[in-house]
Amino acid sequence: MISKRMFPWLDERLGISGIYKTIFDRMVPKVNWWFTLGSATLFLFALQVVTGIMLSVYYVPSPDKAYDSIQYIMNGVAFGWLIRGIHHWGATLMVITVFLHMLRVFFYAAYKYPREITWTTGVLLLLATLGMGFTGYLLPWDQKAYWATTVGTSIAGAVPGIGDFILRALRGGNDLSGVTLARFFSAHIWMFPLIIIALIGVHLYLVIRIGISSIPKENE
């Protein structure tokens, strides 16, 4: 068998069995179903990336074309409605799973020694997820999106002192315009995803290095 000779050759060079031992072949404490929320969130993020890339094939981030391009995705593209549906509902579900995941960690005190940094990166991931929701909401360029973002950005503009600067930085001017759409699009498909991927890297590295927490016993 060639594969019998291939694998040791590859393993010698790639260290596959080392990776397997570190990531998969390790003992973890016996836990319950609440501990699946983290991997569920990771799965949802992967799904958002895949469907998001598919949507970006047809989506046009300009005020003239955004709405029509989404109509085309919904009616013209084969299974476009399904891809957009998954992306739309996946966003909602991801916010729920991220939040529940945080509550699980809180109630089981899993943020305590030695997992403090895992927790901090997790909070940043929660904020980035909300940022994804906020920036993605504008992209369909429909009435709901337009007015929700108008209100959302004006709330950010109410910060004393630097509010006006934040407002103009978010909108790219005094009013919501094509510039706003362009920067929300850029934030939604480049800035936030890259931040999230980097943070997930740290988060998962720590989870594997330290191991998942166990359910606290009464004497702990």
Binding site: F24, W33, T36, N75, F99, K112, W119, W141, A148, A158
Partner: protein
């Protein structure tokens, strides 16, 4: 946590791991099961609920009630507790403090205990916060329900063409004729006798892009006598309305594109068989909508004869009744035959109805002008 406690924790954790399970396959199996359930849930939501259609963004429509995405609703609702000059407390201080409190939680929560019985304050505090967030979200959802759209959003091409034709019939037919053919304008203030060119031929359709048509409708061409129709400029049409209108024009008059069959059927005036009894809702309303309503609606010169519904058609107007069941000498029938009577001149003023449409009106009046088809 002091060093002794750290060592104790590590020992306990090692024991828990030793009595635990393998990540692969035991743990991963549960994870995969949940992932699969989530995937099925998402596909189900996409199929059975989908994504609600919304009209295109319209900065000129200030009547729209803004509402953030649902997971920001609790913040939105909380702001109501900080009116006026206190707003910055709700927008900045509380969310900012919450974020910092979360980020730094492991560093100021010095309690070494992990079981909930020994962390009653932390557990209680977080529970109250979560309950408050859920409560505020529900309250926001109740007090600020999502905006109902005035009319159904046309999401498919045939629906857009149909919506566009309805808009055309009401807003444009007055001057441009029921099918864009133009003619001499009659009965429109300020444009009486103006000879309107046809807009349904290649001259217009080949040389004007959708964008150009859109702009002409939204901004108007005041020097040529056309008023603006966009809401931002005092008209009645939203951006989606104008988009649909342009789609209708393009698919009906541009011979390079083909009208989808579905749309053609939806927009056709129903054919009346030789033995059928015409009724208002099935046969008359589609004709009235296309040829009459443009002028016979509120705010136009029409001797107060409105044709928006059955009761108005039968009973409104300065010269009422304009339709008398069974009487072919009623005003409406005489006027669509081109007679000049005290109630007014020939109708429609620009171009008379085709004989088969007039015949439908006559058969309807003779049948007693019923509103609904007999069962």
């Amino acid at each position: 946590m002091n060093d002794v406690q750290k060592v104790q924790y590590k020992e306990r954790y090692l024991r828990a791991k030793r009595n635990g399970e393998k990540f692969f396959p035991e743990s991963l199996y549960r994870d995969m099961l949940v992932m699969f359930a989530i995937f099925l849930l998402l596909v189900g939501l996409s199929i059975f609920i989908g994504v609600a259609a919304e009209p295109k963004a319209d900065p000129s429509d200030t009547t729209y009630i803004p509402r953030p995405e649902w997971y920001f609703l609790f913040l939105f609702e909380m702001l109501k507790f900080f009116p006026g000059s206190l707003e910055w407390v709700g927008t900045t201080i509380i969310p900012g403090a919450a974020v910092i409190a979360l980020l730094l939680l492991p560093f100021y929560d010095k309690n070494p205990a992990r079981h909930w019985k020994k962390r009653k304050f932390a557990i209680g505090f977080m529970s109250v916060v979560v309950v408050a967030m859920v409560f505020l979200t529900i309250q926001a959802a109740v007090t600020t329900p999502p905006q109902k759209n005035a009319s159904a959003v046309a999401a498919t091409l045939p629906a857009q063409i149909t919506a566009g034709q309805d808009t055309y019939s009401v807003q444009c037919a007055e001057c441009h004729g029921p099918d864009g053919g133009g003619g001499v304008i009659k009965g429109v203030k300020g444009l009486e006798g103006f000879k309107m060119k046809a807009i349904n031929g290649q001259d217009e359709m080949y040389t004007r892009t959708d964008n150009t048509l859109y702009n002409i409708v939204e901004y108007g061409q005041p020097d040529l006598g056309m008023p603006p129709f966009g809401k931002a400029f005092g008209g009645e049409l939203s951006r989606s309305d104008i988009d649909n209108l342009v789609t209708y024009m393009r698919y009906s008059w541009d011979n390079r594109v083909q009208m989808p069959k579905e749309a053609a059927q939806a927009n056709a005036i129903p054919v009346l068989g030789p033995k059928d009894i015409p009724s208002y809702s099935v046969n008359i309303a589609p004709i009235v909508k296309r040829y009459c309503v443009s002028c016979h609606r509120p705010g136009k010169e029409n001797n107060n004869y409105l044709m928006g519904g059955y009761n108005d058609v039968m009973n409104s107007g300065d010269h009422k009744p304009n339709v008398v069941a069974g009487d072919l000498n009623s005003n409406l029938i005489r006027m669509i035959h081109g007679e000049k009577i005290t109630a007014g001149g020939a109708m429609p003023p620009t171009k008379s109805l085709s004989p088969d449409l007039i015949a439908i009106f006559e058969r309807w009046v003779k049948a007693g002008a019923p509103e609904k088809p007999a069962k």
